[in-house]
């Protein structure tokens, strides 16, 4: 664990500072979008399609408009007058805001009702009559690729099939040769089902257009307010919206996890309606709309193969994947990475050869493919490599821990260039796995498992030794819609030595108000209690790409340190002026500059700040502030080893996670308490898809998991008490050696649990179970093997 360099009063890095944002939340005084109530505000509700694919024959708004309090019904035709019925997605695909001809998935927005209150708006939705003519539905992405499948995107003139993109990475010939030469090869198909982030706050906005000033303010559940402002300016420039007149405010956000990165049609309709009507308009979706229409994650059909020598040395990895993107490619990947960072799929292993392919496919399902607390498809990659590693262990009859130890990239090989082109910054994989094995008592558990097996009891131990890739990213490769993925911080030190720091990111619960203040405290010695952190208002915060993909600490956090260091440089000159010495004679220790060899002669950052406004040197500009736009030289590569212990009930097939040990390495730690909180939450969002969550569809494209009745978010009852520990391997290129931590656990946990379940059943010949591992799935397996009680 990192030992703090600062006192508890300063509370720099390494202190478990209590969160600065909590006093308002524990009093119910947070300010979320639905809490905003503006004078004259109207409410919007949305008519959604019951069909997965249908022609719209007519929309009759007459009855709705007769309801007292219903002011308008907006359809695709309304928006078409302003050419706002289509919008670009973050992947430069196109998406209907409201349809004029046909609907492409169930729960698609069809029309919007504007009314004086939310109940009347809902009455209006009931009264809008839409006449549909159902069209053939394509749900299965494999069938969508069949030449006989109907072409879904008839809006794209030259589109002759349902393939969105083909992506590949690696050396195919070398990989094929390694497979041909291998002693052992294993192959496994696995499906990572469609899931949904289901943040407890759904999405919504209050759009407020002021006709007099021409200024549009949109309070919005967004993780990326600056990018949204630019997108609004680019797509609505033709109707007079100009970027300096657009203000996006992301207030308190009730959980994001990636689901609040995309621009959904609801935001655009509410904004258009506010511009046309000239009044503030609130739209807040309900839970079913949220689950059914907002961006999903995963939906990856993976075919994985692993080649090895007899002794278990891995020699090559080959993967072919079909990615179901739904109606449009609305994933939120960096533009040069249509399959995200899936190419991290070689994981923690020194794999000399690898080749991976992904084909993106259109189907009649809600669009998306965004992350679910994950850095652009890393979860899919980690699940694939960690699962197939266990398949290999089973094939070789080797202990999965031993197989991992044998193949880990050795600590001395960092920085390590992977077969698919990444340069891993730092790592010590054996140390993390050893620590996890000690904590869980691995040898003892294996003995217990053998004893239980002899008695017919089912118990399994599963390992996942993951490597993540986060902190996008270096601007040479990473952009979204052309916007480079740097991030920013602006710090102003006030005359009395207190500071305000503004960032281009946006916390959704990660605790930025605390951790960013601690970064500034560490660098400047100003107590974190006196560093006010602000984000999310595009009128005041410096431009940044936002918070997702564990990028806040690697990018904006780094910008915070760099801006503080610029301030320190100026502070040094002021201190030299005050102490009447050369800046070269000064040394910095937390919070003050002292004359070398005369520690009694010093000036604190507070003295210096006061002088910056009252007694600054002639020829120097007054004030003490700086801004940094930080462009990271590389991504960061957090890692860890997780071990799950599960017991399976032979009567019900239920899997109980008895213990779960998580050893994480996210480099240097800003706030250990917050890091543990991030790991706990991430682990629970890993347990969720492993055992419970799936958005499924029937053959007609009806969503069968579209409410909290069917979409099972873990409760406190299913969630075990997590056991966490750390190793610390700093990132060599990050200003303070941090790597990012918000998502490691989400991707590390599912394969550990899946591997534990398979391990429990391996003696029955079971080699793989797709997630979510529901009691029904396990019970059917047990029944097949004659073990169900």
């Amino acid at each position: 664990m990192t030992t703090p360099k600062t006192s508890p009063e300063v509370c720099g890095m390494g202190h478990s500072m209590k969160r600065k944002e909590d006093p308002r939340f524990i009093r119910g005084r947070g300010n979320y979008v639905d809490d905003i109530q503006l004078p004259g505000m109207l409410h919007m509700d949305i008519v959604r399609s019951p069909f997965a694919h249908a022609k719209i024959k007519s929309i009759n708004t007459e009855k709705a408009l007769k309801i007292p309090g219903v002011l308008a019904v907006i359809t695709g035709e309304t928006l078409a007058k302003y050419n706002l019925h289509w919008m670009p997605t973050l992947m430069s695909d196109t998406q209907m805001v409201l349809p004029t001809e046909k609907v492409m998935y169930q729960a698609q927005e069809v029309a919007a009702v504007i009314a004086t209150d939310r109940y009347i708006a809902a009455d209006g939705v009931e009264a809008v009559e839409v006449d549909y003519e159902p069209l053939p539905v394509v749900v299965d992405p494999f069938k969508a690729l069949d030449p006989s499948a109907p072409v879904l995107r008839t809006d794209k003139k030259d589109k002759k099939d349902n393939r969105i993109f083909h992506w590949q990475a690696g050396d195919k010939a070398a990989t094929d040769k390694a497979f041909a030469d291998a002693d052992v090869t294993v192959v496994q198909d696995m499906y990572l089902p469609r899931i949904h982030v289901a943040s407890i706050e759904t999405c919504g906005c209050v759009a407020d257009f002021d006709r007099v000033t021409g200024k549009l303010t949109v309070y919005m559940t967004t993780q990326a307010p600056h990018a949204v402002r630019t997108v609004f300016a680019l797509v609505a420039g033709h109707v007079g919206l100009s970027e300096e007149k657009i203000r996006i405010v992301s207030p308190d956000i009730g959980g994001g996890f990636g689901g609040k990165v995309p621009v959904y049609p609801g935001y655009v309709i509410a904004t258009a309606a506010s511009v046309v009507i000239g009044k503030p308009i609130k739209w807040v979706e309900d839970r079913m709309e949220n689950l059914q229409a907002d961006s999903f994650a995963r939906d990856y059909h993976i075919h994985a193969e692993l080649a090895a020598k007899k002794d278990g040395t891995m020699t090559a990895l080959r993967i072919k994947t079909i990615a179901d993107h739904g109606y449009t490619d609305a994933a939120a990947n960096p533009s040069k990475f249509p399959a995200g960072l899936f190419s991290i799929c070689t994981g923690s292993y020194a794999l000399p050869n690898a080749f991976a392919e992904v084909d993106g496919v259109y189907t009649n399902k809600a669009p998306g493919g965004i992350a679910y607390r994950c850095s652009f498809r890393v979860t899919e990659a980690v699940h694939c490599i960690e699962r197939i590693t266990d398949v290999l262990a089973q094939e070789l009859k080797m202990d999965p821990a031993e197989l991992r130890m044998k193949n880990f990239i050795p600590p001395e090989k960092f920085p390590y260039k992977s077969a698919l082109g990444w340069e891993y910054d730092s790592g010590n994989y054996p140390a993390a796995l050893r620590k996890a094995m000690e904590m869980v008592g691995y040898e003892q558990l294996r003995k217990e498992q053998a004893e239980k097996r002899a008695k017919g009891e089912l118990m399994g131990i599963g390992i996942s030794s993951f490597t993540e890739i986060v902190g996008a990213g270096p601007s040479k490769n990473f952009d979204i819609l052309g916007l480079k993925m740097f991030d920013s911080c602006e710090i102003r030190v006030h005359p009395t030595g207190k500071a305000i720091a503004r960032f281009g990111t946006k916390s959704q619960g990660q605790g930025h108000e605390t951790t960013y203040a601690q970064i500034v405290a560490e660098e400047l010695g100003i107590p974190a209690a006196h560093v006010q952190v602000e984000e999310g208002d595009t009128d005041t915060a410096p431009y940044g790409l936002g918070t997702y993909a564990s990028r806040s600490t690697p990018t904006a956090g780094a910008a915070g340190a760099m801006a503080a260091r610029k301030i320190r440089e100026k502070a040094k000159k002021i201190a030299a002026h005050l102490l009447e010495c050369s800046p070269d004679d000064l040394v910095w220790e937390t919070g003050k500059f002292s004359v070398k060899g005369a520690p009694g002669r010093s000036k604190s950052i507070q003295d210096i700040a006061f002088a910056a406004y009252t007694n600054h040197p002639q020829g120097m500009e007054a004030g003490l502030e700086a801004v940094s736009y930080y462009d990271p030289p590389n991504l960061t590569f957090p890692f860890g080893s997780y071990i799950a212990v599960v017991d399976i009930d032979r009567g019900t097939g239920a899997v109980k996670v008895r213990r779960f040990v998580a050893v994480d390495d996210c480099g240097n730690i800003i706030n250990p308490m917050i890091v543990d909180g991030q790991i706990h939450g991430g682990l629970t969002m890993g347990l969720a898809p492993a055992l419970l969550e799936e958005i499924s569809y029937d053959d007609d494209g009806n969503i069968t998991g579209g409410s909290f009745m069917d979409y099972l978010v873990p409760t406190a009852m299913e969630t075990p008490a997590w056991e966490t520990a750390k190793t610390v391997t700093p990132s060599p290129h990050h200003p303070f050696g941090a790597k990012g931590v918000g998502e490691s656990a989400t991707l590390g946990a599912p394969p550990a649990i899946a591997n534990a379940v398979v391990d429990a059943l391996s003696h029955l010949g079971v080699r793989h179970v797709d997630i979510p591992i529901t009691p029904e799935k396990v019970w059917r397996l047990l029944k097949e093997k004659g073990l169900a009680e």
């Binding site: 969160r19 524990i26 947070g30 939310r118 629970t684 406190a716």
Partner: protein, 160 residues
């Protein structure tokens, strides 16, 4: 469409209120929109998530599925009523100390459920706590620190 209205009275956090409401108005909307007590949140509208939990005559209820007229004559307690005379309630202090919240959205409902549990059981076991909050979903914390916060609040209350 005209909806019948009703005159109702209730006490919210000790303060009496008299309101005329539509039959269909939900208690959560009355609290949030009529009384502007926005600490009670809406997460699902279907009684699953518990973000809207308030106490109705001391019992935790999900105010998204209680009609305002059903609360006629009742005493309602919301998160805004926990702090008394500028002093945080032990459950608020414990949630803060133990990092029992992240985005803060489920927090008011969690604290009200925890408050009700501790009113009837001064020394709940971990299982008791997990069972009590099993109708309150949290997506951020993984529940571990919420359980610790409620245990810590129990201890603080016992020492009072």
């Amino acid at each position: 469409m005209t909806m019948a209205t009703h005159e109702i009275r209730m006490t919210v956090n000790g303060a009496p209120h008299q309101l005329r409401v539509e039959s269909r108005l939900l208690l959560v909307h009355l609290l949030r929109e009529n009384l502007r007590l926005t600490g009670t949140h809406i997460g699902c509208d279907t009684t699953h998530c518990g973000a809207c939990t308030v106490l109705l005559d001391g019992e935790p209820v999900k105010s998204c599925t209680v009609l305002a007229v059903q609360a006629d004559g009742a005493e309602i307690a919301t998160v805004e009523g926990l702090e008394q005379n500028g002093k945080l309630h032990p459950i608020q202090e414990a949630f803060w100390d133990k990092h029992g919240l992240q985005c803060g959205y489920c927090t008011p409902g969690m604290m009200m459920t925890g408050y009700a549990l501790l009113a009837r059981d001064k020394q709940p076991s971990e299982t008791d706590i997990r069972e009590a909050i099993s109708g309150n979903l949290c997506r951020c914390t993984g529940y571990s620190n919420i359980v610790k916060a409620i245990q810590s609040a129990a201890e603080r209350l016992r020492q009072q």
